[in-house]
C-alpha cells in the first residue's frame, strides 16, 4: 500500500528524519499566509508529477492562491488531485538517493544509496549505486552506513547526518512493515543539512492489523476494486468484455491468460477464494455485474469450494439479478456432476474441461 507523500513525511517527522516544513491542503481555505517561497505539490501516487505540471513553485504571495486553485481538483497523469502539500522551498546543493526495500530474490531487506539522486534509480548504472543486503537476524548496524559513506565519498559533516538518517530509515522500514521506504531526492541544502525532499513509503497491506492508524483507502485502486476488496474478494478491473469468476489466484490468472490467448478480452480478475458458500458466489456475481461485462465466465476446480455450491449460487444469482448476459460455466472436481445437473435444470450448460469453456466464452464475448 503506497502512502501519499504527506503521510510518508509524517512518518519521517515522527521518527526523526528531517523533512521540509509544510502543510496539507484539501480545500482552498486550508491555504495559510504566504511567508516564504513554497512548493505546491499534487499528492498523487504516480511518478513524474513535476513534468506533468503537478508541482508548482511559488515565489511571491500573489502566486500562492492561483497555484493552489489551478492544482486542486485538476487531473495530473489521469488522476484527480484532491490533496496538495505546501512546503517551504529548500535550497538544494545536491540531490542524493536512499532506500530500504524487500529484495524478493534474496528474501532480505536491501539498502540502496547513491549520490546521483532526483532521477529514477533504475536509470542509473549499477556501479554508481551502493547496494547492500541486510541479514534479517543481525539487522542493520552503523557499520553498514560507514560502508555506504565510503562508497559515496561523503564529506564528514554530511556522513554523520547520513548515518543517523539511515538508522532511522531502517527502523521505519521494520516498524511500519514496509516493502519500500525511499527518499528521492535526499537533499543536501546550501547550509549543509540533509533533508528528505520526497517520501515514498509502501506498506505491506497485510500488516494493517497492527497499523490501524493507516487503515486508509489504497489510492491505487478503482472504486469497484475497493468495494470488492472490502467484501473480501481479490478483484482487479481490466478493460475487456468477459466477466470472470474463478477460484484460486493461479487458476483465475490462468483463465484470463487462456481467454487472452484465444483473443478474448477479460473484464476482471475475481478469485472466489477457498470457501464453500452459496452467498459468496451470489455476491461475486453482484460485483462482476457492476463492471457491466457482455458475457460471464465461471471457471471452478472444485476442492474446498464444491461444484454444486457454485451451481446453486449461479442459479440464485441469475434469478436475483435477472442476469441477461450469457453465462459460460466450467465445473470440475468435487461434486461436478451434481453441479452440472443443477445448472442443466436451470437452463445453463456447464463444461467439464476448461478449454471448451474458454473457447465458448470468447465466441460469446459480444453477449450473444
Amino acid at each position: 500500500m503506497n502512502l501519499y507523500e504527506y503521510l510518508g513525511k509524517d512518518i519521517f517527522r515522527k521518527n526523526g528524519i528531517p523533512v521540509p516544513d509544510g502543510y496539507l491542503v484539501e480545500k482552498k481555505e486550508d491555504v495559510r499566509k504566504y511567508e516564504k517561497p513554497v512548493v505546491v505539490k499534487s499528492q498523487i501516487l504516480l511518478g513524474g508529477r513535476g513534468k506533468s505540471g503537478g508541482i508548482k513553485f511559488v515565489k511571491s504571495e500573489a502566486d500562492l492562491k492561483p497555484a493552489v486553485d489551478s492544482l486542486l481538483g485538476s487531473e495530473v497523469r489521469g488522476l484527480k488531485v484532491t490533496r496538495l502539500l505546501v512546503e517551504e522551498m529548500i535550497d538544494i546543493r545536491k540531490e542524493m538517493y536512499v532506500s530500504f526495500s524487500l529484495n524478493r530474490t534474496e528474501r532480505k531487506p536491501m539498502l540502496m544509496a547513491t549520490v546521483e539522486g532526483g532521477v529514477e534509480i533504475e536509470s542509473l548504472p549499477h556501479d554508481k549505486i551502493f547496494l547492500r543486503l541486510i541479514d534479517p537476524l543481525m539487522g542493520y548496524s552503523d557499520y553498514i552506513a560507514k560502508e555506504a559513506v565510503k562508497f559515496m565519498q561523503l564529506e564528514p559533516a554530511i556522513a554523520a547526518q547520513f548515518r543517523s538518517l539511515l538508522a532511522k530509515l531502517y527502523e521505519i522500514f521494520n516498524k511500519y512493515d514496509c516493502e519500500l521506504v525511499e527518499i528521492n531526492p535526499l537533499v543536501i541544502t546550501g547550509e549543509g543539512k540533509l533533508i528528505a525532499a520526497d517520501a515514498k513509503v509502501v506498506m505491506d497491506s497485510d500488516s494493517l492489523f497492527r497499523h490501524r492508524e493507516f487503515n486508509v483507502i489504497d489510492p491505487e485502486k478503482t472504486p469497484l476494486e475497493l468495494e470488492a476488496n472490502g467484501r473480501g474478494y481479490s478483484f482487479v478491473e481490466l478493460q475487456g468484455d468477459i466477466g470472470v469468476i474463478a477460484n484460486g489466484a493461479g487458476l483465475t490468472m490462468a483463465t484470463l491468460d487462456a481467454l487472452t490467448l484465444h483473443k478474448g478480452k477479460p473484464r476482471n480478475f475475481l478469485d472466489l477464494g477457498g470457501t464453500d458458500s452459496v452467498d459468496i458466489v451470489i455476491d461475486a456475481f453482484d460485483l462482476v455485474l457492476k463492471a457491466n461485462p457482455k458475457t460471464i465466465l465461471v471457471n471452478i476446480f472444485g476442492g474446498v469450494t464444491k461444484c454444486d455450491t457454485v451451481a446453486n449460487g449461479i442459479v440464485e444469482a441469475k434469478k436475483k439479478y435477472g442476469i441477461k448476459q450469457p453465462i459460460v460455466v466450467r465445473l470440475s472436481g468435487i461434486h461436478e456432476e451434481e453441479g452440472r445437473e443443477i445448472l442443466k435444470k436451470n437452463g445453463v450448460d456447464a463444461f467439464s474441461d476448461m478449454m471448451s469453456a474458454i473457447e465458448t466464452a470468447v465466441k460469446r464475448e459480444g453477449g450473444n
Binding site: 512493515d177 497485510d206 481479490s234 482487479v236 493461479g250 490468472m253 476442492g303 474446498v304
Partner: protein
C-alpha cells in the same frame, strides 16, 4: 536431498479447532497422514476427528511429531511458528494467507538457523500420493506416479494435477510453495529434492508473475537438472502494478513478467505450456 515428508511423517495441527484446521485435519487423516495431535490453548480436554488436542506444542513433543500445519489467523502465525521452531518441529507448513512478509522473514530466518524447513505461507501444502499429505489439496485428484509438481498457486495446481492424473501421469510429490512475496521454499530448493528423488522422473513447475524465482530456477535447471522439466506460467495477461490475488503476483517496474520467465525457461530447454491442459502432452 531428502524429500520433505514420507509415510513416517507425524503431523500436528496448530489451530486444529478452527474451521480450516478441523476440516483439513479430517481430510489429511482420510488421506492416510499420521496426524498425531492438535494444538489449541485451553481446549486440551477435547478431540477433533479423534485427534487429541493439547495446550501447547511442547505438550505434544512426547508423540515425536516431525511436522506442523499452522492454521491460525495471520496476526498469530509468527507466534505459532516460533513455538513450533522452539519445540524442534522439523517441517513447518503455514496455510494462512495474509501473513505480513516481515513476519515471514523472521520465521524463515529463525527456522533456517535451526535447520528447519518452512513451507508457505499461503500455499496448499505438500502431497505424496500413497505416503502423506499435509495441507489442503483435494484428496481425490492424485495418483501415485513419477511426476513431481511444484507450484506457486493452489487451485491451478489441482487443475494441473487433475489433468495429469486423467492423462495417466501419476505424481511422486506435489508441493505448493505459496503465493506470497516471501515464502520458505523456492523452486530451486524443491528442484534439488526432485533431482535426487529416485521416484521422480519428470518435473512440472507452475510459476506465476512476480519476482525472479522462475528465472533462477531456469538457470539452475540448465546447469543441474537432467530430468525432463515442463512449466506453466500464470499471469501472461496481467497488467503491471496490480496484485493478481496473490500478494506475490505482481509485475513491478517491468520485473516479474511472464515473458521474462517463459524466455528463461525456454533458454533452459524447458517447454512452457500455453494452457494448463497442454502440460500432459508436453510431458509425454
Amino acid at each position: 536431498m531428502k524429500n520433505y515428508v514420507d509415510e513416517n511423517t507425524k503431523v500436528i495441527v496448530q489451530g486444529i479447532t478452527g474451521h480450516q484446521g478441523k476440516f483439513h485435519s479430517g481430510e489429511m487423516l482420510k488421506f492416510g497422514t499420521k496426524v498425531v495431535a492438535g494444538v489449541s490453548p485451553g481446549k486440551s480436554s477435547e478431540k477433533v476427528n479423534g485427534v487429541q488436542i493439547f495446550d501447547t506444542v511442547a505438550d505434544t513433543m512426547h508423540l515425536n511429531p516431525t511436522a506442523s500445519m499452522i492454521s491460525v489467523p495471520a496476526p498469530y502465525v509468527k507466534d505459532a511458528a516460533f513455538e513450533a521452531i522452539d519445540a524442534g518441529i522439523e517441517l513447518i507448513y503455514v496455510l494462512t494467507e495474509h501473513v505480513p512478509f516481515h513476519d515471514t522473514m523472521d520465521i524463515l530466518y529463525e527456522a533456517s538457523r535451526k535447520g528447519i524447513t518452512l513451507l508457505g505461507p499461503n500455499g496448499p501444502g505438500i502431497t505424496r500420493p500413497g505416503k502423506c499429505k499435509i495441507g489442503i489439496m483435494p484428496n481425490h485428484i492424485f495418483k501415485d506416479g513419477d511426476v513431481a509438481v511444484a507450484s506457486r498457486s493452489g487451485t491451478l495446481t489441482y487443475e494441473i494435477v487433475g489433468a495429469l492424473t486423467k492423462a495417466g501421469f501419476g505424481q511422486s510429490t506435489v508441493i505448493g510453495l505459496g503465493g506470497d512475496p516471501v515464502v520458505g521454499l523456492t523452486f530451486i530448493d524443491v528442484l534439488k529434492v526432485f533431482n535426487d528423488d529416485p521416484n521422480t522422473r519428470k518435473i512440472v513447475l507452475v510459476g506465476e508473475i512476480g519476482g525472479i524465482n522462475e528465472e533462477m530456477a531456469a538457470d539452475y535447471i540448465r546447469k543441474n537438472v537432467k530430468k525432463k522439466v515442463v512449466a506453466y506460467i500464470a499471469g501472461r495477461s496481467a497488467p503491471p502494478g496490480k496484485r493478481m490475488g496473490h500478494a506475490g503476483a505482481i509485475i513491478e517496474k517491468g520485473s516479474g513478467t511472464a515473458e521474462s520467465k517463459i524466455k528463461a525457461f525456454n533458454a533452459a530447454g524447458v517447454h512452457v505450456a500455453d494452457f494448463p491442459a497442454d502440460i500432459p502432452g508436453l510431458l509425454g
